[in-house]
């Protein structure tokens, strides 16, 4: 039953569309996969944009996260509550970062199943293709099996020259690196580093075993992600050592609540400075952009003015 629904809604439409697009593009299945990638990424662009905003907001909340850890480090329950409140008030959903990837997973599976059917790799798989073809689309019967050659690749088998696994792993690393937040917490830093390497290596390894047509999708999809991240978040993010962190509007709401709770009038600039000072070396390394206006962190200087005794970097005075 589930299999029938899967075939009806996802697999059969994908197979027929891939065949027709391939026919329209000079019987080139590789180009059809690239077009499919662009279509899928286009359809999921609202999710991608949401993910990028979430990622950016998470990066911007990083200094406040460290502040909270310092403040409530011993009271885990209180810390968790405060963190949840911070995410809520800032409109950030940490799990939302993964939504575009999760949404694409059925596409990957369907693409894999499509590839092994339309390219006539194994007779048993190819025979099953007949049940997916739309009787009302006569051209699909004339076009199968599709040509499996594209550039240096045989799309039905893994890339024997190993270039594709490198491209998949490399592009995924680049994409991950751009969105990996800087943090002063060594544990968190280690975890970020682990995630930065685990996923690209895993996908590179999977590419060694799956048809290269699927890896072609991953490479272009990663390139699209990188381009979107570059243009929407405004730069290379975590790739550059001088990634600036500026508070989003939502942060101010949180800061206001925090300071009000402490019985003080909100003073954004001062509060930001507190955070900057307490974050320590990591944030202190963040150099404000030239001409940065109010709202940008200028950690060292403001911290000294307000809480000279708290500063952990006396030499910088």
């Amino acid at each position: 039953m589930i299999g029938e629904i899967w075939n009806l809604i996802i697999l059969s439409p994908m197979i027929n569309v891939l065949i027709v697009v391939s026919g329209a593009l000079f019987n080139n299945f590789g180009l059809a996969i690239l077009v499919l990638t662009i279509i899928v990424r286009g359809v999921t662009i609202p999710l991608t944009l949401r993910q990028l905003r979430s990622t950016k907001a998470m990066q911007e909340l990083q200094p406040k996260m460290t502040e909270l850890q310092k403040k409530y480090g011993k009271d885990k329950q209180k810390l968790a509550q405060e963190q949840m409140r911070m995410y809520k008030e800032s409109g950030v959903n940490p799990a939302g970062c993964l939504l575009p990837m999760l949404v694409q997973m059925p596409i990957w599976i369907a693409l894999f199943q499509s590839i092994i059917r339309v390219l006539a790799v194994i007779p048993e798989d190819f025979l099953k293709l007949s049940g997916h073809l739309y009787a009302s689309w006569p051209q699909v019967f004339s076009l199968v099996p599709l040509n499996s050659h594209f550039l240096w690749l045989d799309l039905a088998v893994p890339d024997k020259y190993l270039l594709l696994p490198i491209l998949v792993g490399g592009s995924m690393w680049l994409q991950q690196k751009m969105v990996t937040p800087k943090t002063g917490d060594p544990k968190q830093q280690a975890q970020s580093q682990m995630m930065l390497w685990v996923m690209p290596l895993m996908f590179a390894f999977i590419t060694l075993q799956f048809p290269s047509g699927l890896a072609l999708y991953w490479v272009l999809s990663n390139v699209i992600s990188i381009a979107l991240q570059y243009f929407i978040t405004g730069g290379w993010g975590g790739l550059t050592a001088q990634a600036a962190t500026k508070p989003a509007g939502a942060d101010k709401k949180y800061l206001k609540r925090l300071t009000t709770a402490e019985g003080k009038e909100p003073d954004y600039a001062a509060t930001e400075a507190d955070i900057g000072a307490d974050v320590g070396a990591d944030i202190a390394e963040v150099t404000p952009k030239e001409g940065a206006g109010p709202g940008r962190y200028q950690p060292g200087l403001r911290a000294m003015k307000r809480h000279p005794k708290k500063s952990k970097h006396p030499k910088r005075r």
Partner: protein, 376 residues
């Protein structure tokens, strides 16, 4: 930490889903594709049955005693190493039905080799090619006039000396060849994924004529009454003049033609993957009857006691007649059937997808015996 926890769990979930959904619980040393298992039919001589098992072995069974004539002959293929995977060997999928003569049995393997085995002893007489391998061979061999013919996924049709295995000639098409050739007199007919049906001189492989279709051709053509009948993936059954390949008529079904058509008393029976058997007048292509069997048909039917015996992929076996028109369920093997049927002395031999050989009475549908090939 909440954030760390949520992200870690979500990432872990994503990775697990990916791995599980891909059917790769543990990274393996083989590409993530389906496993070719084969669907060899049965070749019948006066005394014996020969077929390729799904363990990659040639099985020889005495027809009367149902005992093995000799121990199953295994065929192995090399498996490449790399990336920490050791080189090794695996069993060969066998899709083609063996061809048996009084002296040798010929068997084609998905590993790109053809083997000739002594009928009496099971000893290997020759293998082609002796060293390397061709591209996967899906169709079966045909023996005629001291030559053995077969096609390969490299798009070539090979003619070898049946006694020595020496290559005599090659004909090259522009697409994969997955079908089994048909030989009639001095002409060989073979279809290709390049959407053409070729008629070749058996002596030297020269082209007599070719016919362009709109779809790939896998089904073995049938030669009957000066006409060549060939089904295609474009859903048409073509009737071509045997002399020059000109079109006499064509008939459209609902899906691919994969199996060999049958002819009886001026009627062509063509089974399609659309789940129907189309009975057509051989002369004109006019529809006589259509039997809807409600499951795709890729197994070639046989003629037994004046009835057409057809097995559908779902495992049901039917007996069909047009005069009087009758669709009689014979037996349900409850096992998928892709291999072509074979018949001898009123007994139908069926090799199921579970690697079981069934002997079924063509009249009553009673299962006379069954043999699990894997357990032997």
């Amino acid at each position: 930490m909440l954030k760390k926890g949520v992200i870690s769990k979500a990432l872990l979930l994503a990775v697990l889903l990916l791995v599980l959904a891909s059917g790769l619980a543990i990274p393996t040393c083989r590409p993530a594709q389906g496993i070719p298992r084969g669907w060899s039919g049965v070749s019948i001589t006066d005394e014996a049955l020969f077929l390729g098992s799904m363990q990659g072995k040639l099985v020889a069974i005495d027809k009367s005693s149902r005992q093995r004539l000799w121990p199953d002959v295994p065929f192995e293929k090399k498996q490449s190493g790399g990336f920490g995977c050791a080189q090794g060997s695996g069993s060969v999928a066998i899709y083609g039905t063996p061809a048996a003569t009084s002296e040798l049995v010929y068997l084609t393997g998905y590993n790109g080799k053809i083997y000739a085995v002594n009928v009496e002893t099971g000893a290997l007489r020759w293998v082609y090619p002796r060293e390397d391998e061709l591209d996967p061979i899906v169709g079966g061999p045909v023996v005629a006039g001291g030559r053995v013919y077969f096609g390969s996924s490299d798009g070539k049709l090979y003619a070898l000396d049946a006694t020595t295995g020496d290559r005599l000639w090659i004909f090259e098409s522009e697409g994969k060849i997955w079908g089994t050739p048909a030989v009639n007199g001095e002409t060989l007919y073979i279809g290709s994924f390049d959407k053409k049906l070729y008629a070749l001189n058996v002596a030297d492989g020269s082209l007599k004529w070719q016919f362009q279709m709109e779809g790939a051709v896998v089904a073995t053509p049938l030669v009957y009454d000066d006409t060549v009948y060939s089904g295609s993936f474009d859903r048409y059954l073509y009737a071509l003049n045997e002399a020059d390949g000109s079109l006499r008529w064509k008939y459209q079904a609902g899906n691919w033609f994969w199996s060999l058509p049958l002819a009886d008393d001026g009627v062509i029976y063509a089974a399609s993957v659309d789940g129907k058997v189309h009975a057509l007048k051989a002369e004109s292509g006019e529809k006589v009857a259509v039997f809807d069997l409600e499951s795709p048909i890729s197994s070639s039917p046989v003629l037994a006691d004046g009835s057409i015996i057809v097995a559908v992929e779902a495992g049901q076996v039917y007996s069909l007649n047009i005069n009087p028109r009758q669709k009689k369920p014979l037996v349900n093997l409850e096992d998928e059937i892709y291999a072509p049927l074979a018949v001898s002395d009123g007994v139908i031999y069926i090799h199921s997808a579970d690697d079981v050989l069934y002997a079924v009475d063509a009249r009553s549908g009673a299962t006379l015996w069954s043999l699990e090939l894997e357990s032997e």
